[in-house]
Amino acid sequence: MNDKILEVKALQKHFSLERNQTLKAVNGISFDVKKGETFGLVGESGCGKSTAGRTIMGLYNRSGGEVLFKGQDVHKKTDKERHQFLRQMQMIFQDPYASLNPRSTVYEIIAEPLLVHEIYQSKKELSAKIYELLESVGLNRDHANRYPHEFSGGQRQRIGIARALALDPEFIICDEPISALDVSVQASVVKLLQRLQKEKGFTYLFIAHDLSMVKYISSRIAVMYLGKIVELTTSEQLYHNPLHPYTQALLSAIPIPDPDIEESRRRIILEGELPSPIDPPTGCVFHTRCAHACEACVTVEPTWREQEGEHFVACHLMDDSIEMGKPLRVQQEV
């Protein structure tokens, strides 16, 4: 039995820039998403996580590798097949202010996918479905005739969610769905997503930079850095036993809202900033900031290997066949 709903294999997405430069936004990532789970994709800005989401959805053409949704290649579909496919995979966007048409009423916004796919024959059925969707995301039918500007950020995100649910998809890509919202509202939107998953068995690909929230909602997490996945494991393992030095630094940089814990924590301060994806470092992409980096990291790209059950990492430290030389620099801790 195959319980994988999505398989991403060595996916690449490169953008051509002027002067023959290429920006390697996504540079060979592989992972599977199992049916019914929430898979988190985290990383800092510019790591390629949103591009990955959009390429998986088919909004961008791939540059290499493949994306299989239920065994079928997303990028090889004919227009007609694609149209059908979109009934199964939908997306929720980051900015609830920009992703809703300001000149359409909420009714029109939610009706659009239903009309495009010609699902309901009568207007009565259509309206009933729209009211049902509004109620399922915690709004009510009185909201249907209003315009997006009349709603708060959290309510707008609920409208975006209702639109994504309209076609009863199986798989939803959530691209930073809560980062534009206030903290107390974030919690309620996340709770809504969880409740809907329980009720309807959705599978989520949850893309975000906020590792605390991703850990809360996801069963497994992949950490991206500069177009590559550096570590992939269950959210529990990721917090308790991070293997990649970047994951370790990322975890230690996230402040915990508890003064006693926060003041006694050891923090790894990463030097420098993210290198340019136009000209990524040779060998391991993280070697320019890594405290453990040695000669081998500059020249040889680490292989993607399973460390223990379901815990994958790409780092020479975990690879016994690589001779680790003298570190290039000293780790800074505070």
Binding site: E44, S45, S152, G153, G154, D182, V183, S184, V185, Q186, A187, S188, V190, K191, H209, L211, S212, M213, K215, Y216, E236, Y239, A249, L250, L251, S252, A253, I254, P255, I256, P257, D258, P259, I261, E262, E263, R267, I269, L270, E273, L274, V334
Partner: protein
């Protein structure tokens, strides 16, 4: 430290800035927005006071009022005093104010991308303030600028002075903005969401920088933020704002461990923690009140799970739990004690 010593410690601290009963309103087409409704706090020398709250709670308006950045009209400081060095800033003539703002009190903003002028070199922007306020010569100002860039950790400062904002990354730009704010050696630094636009690893670098600067220069910092993790790390005291008012203020540990206001608790329960597994998030139901027509009673009453009749009709008075920890909630009233014993 015994209780008595602690009291002495409090009394001995020097107040740098006092805000009393500040009211700020804005006239709009839809009516008058009462953005800040009676905010009072003191800022002590060398401390970091965090003002936390969600969007629209009035935390930025409060800090802009201190900095004299409320556009008047449409804004208006209806009432209240902002006392710095014995002088009320809210009633000072503009010209005298200019001497204090930017020199003694300075500010950094959320977005380092837009806070810098794209058409001026970093050097020009760094030296502008100190040449205006201190009348330094070009060479002296440049020397000072290089010192500042060194202090905030920008390598090759001499070369970098000639560059423009777009030649720096986000984290570097925020360091420059901090250098500009600190070059006149202010007593008070207001930081409005200084790390919100930055990635966490860069945020960690900037927070370290704040700590080292405060240690070296002894400045007082007002930190405006919504990130409770950042607050847990660098604040000494915390003021929680809701609907234009401070609803609870106290030391960091008062607010995190001994909080008394249902909103403070709600806020803390609604953020996930990296270090806990299987925790449950408890969102706060409802939305903040409309500040065109703020509620007569407690601003939080409509969302509060413990709201009583009195909450809707009468604004809760300040209750001093300790000398430093005060809360605005009817639950703290003698007559309500015992009612909530089961919660």
């Amino acid at each position: 430290m015994t209780q008595a010593q602690q009291h002495e410690h409090v009394a001995a601290r020097e107040k740098v800035l006092e805000v009393h009963n500040l009211h700020v309103t804005f006239k709009t087409f839809g009516g008058e927005v009462k953005a800040v409704r009676g905010v009072s706090f003191d800022l002590y020398k060398g401390e970091t006071l965090a003002i936390v709250g969600e969007s629209g709670c009035g935390k930025s308006v409060t800090s802009n009022a201190i900095m004299g950045l409320i556009p008047q009209p449409p804004g208006r400081i209806e009432n209240g005093q902002i006392v710095y060095n014995g002088k009320d800033l809210s009633k000072m003539p503009k010209k005298a104010l200019r001497k204090i703002q930017g020199m003694d009190i300075s500010m950094i903003f959320q977005d380092p991308m837009t806070a810098l002028n794209p058409t001026l070199t970093i050097g020009e922007q760094l030296t502008e303030g100190i040449r205006t306020h201190h009348g330094l010569s070009k060479d002296e100002a440049k020397k000072r600028a290089i010192e500042m860039l060194n202090l905030v950790g920008i390598p090759n400062p001499e070369e970098r002075l000639k560059q423009y904002a777009h030649q720096f990354s986000g984290g570097m730009r925020q360091r420059i903005v901090i250098a500009i704010a600190l070059i006149c050696e202010p007593d008070v630094l207001i930081a409005d969401e200084p790390t919100t636009a930055l990635d966490v690893t860069i945020q960690a670098q900037i927070l370290e920088l704040f700590a080292s600067i405060q240690e070296r220069m002894g400045i007082s910092i007002i930190l405006i933020t919504h990130d409770l993790g950042v607050v847990a790390k660098i604040a000494d005291r915390i003021a929680v704002m809701y609907a234009g008012q401070i609803i609870e203020i106290g030391t960091k540990r008062d607010i995190f461990y001994r909080n008394t206001h249902p909103y403070t608790r709600g806020l803390l329960n609604s953020v996930p923690r990296l270090d806990l597994l299987e925790e449950e998030l408890k969102p706060i139901d409802g939305t903040p009140p409309d500040l065109f027509d703020p509620p007569v009673g407690c601003g939080f009453a409509a969302r509060c799970p413990f709201a009583m009749d009195v909450c809707e009709h009468v604004e809760p008075p300040a209750t001093y739990i300790t000398e430093e920890h005060r809360s605005y909630c009817w639950q703290q009233d003698e007559r309500a004690k015992g009612l909530f014993a089961n919660y």
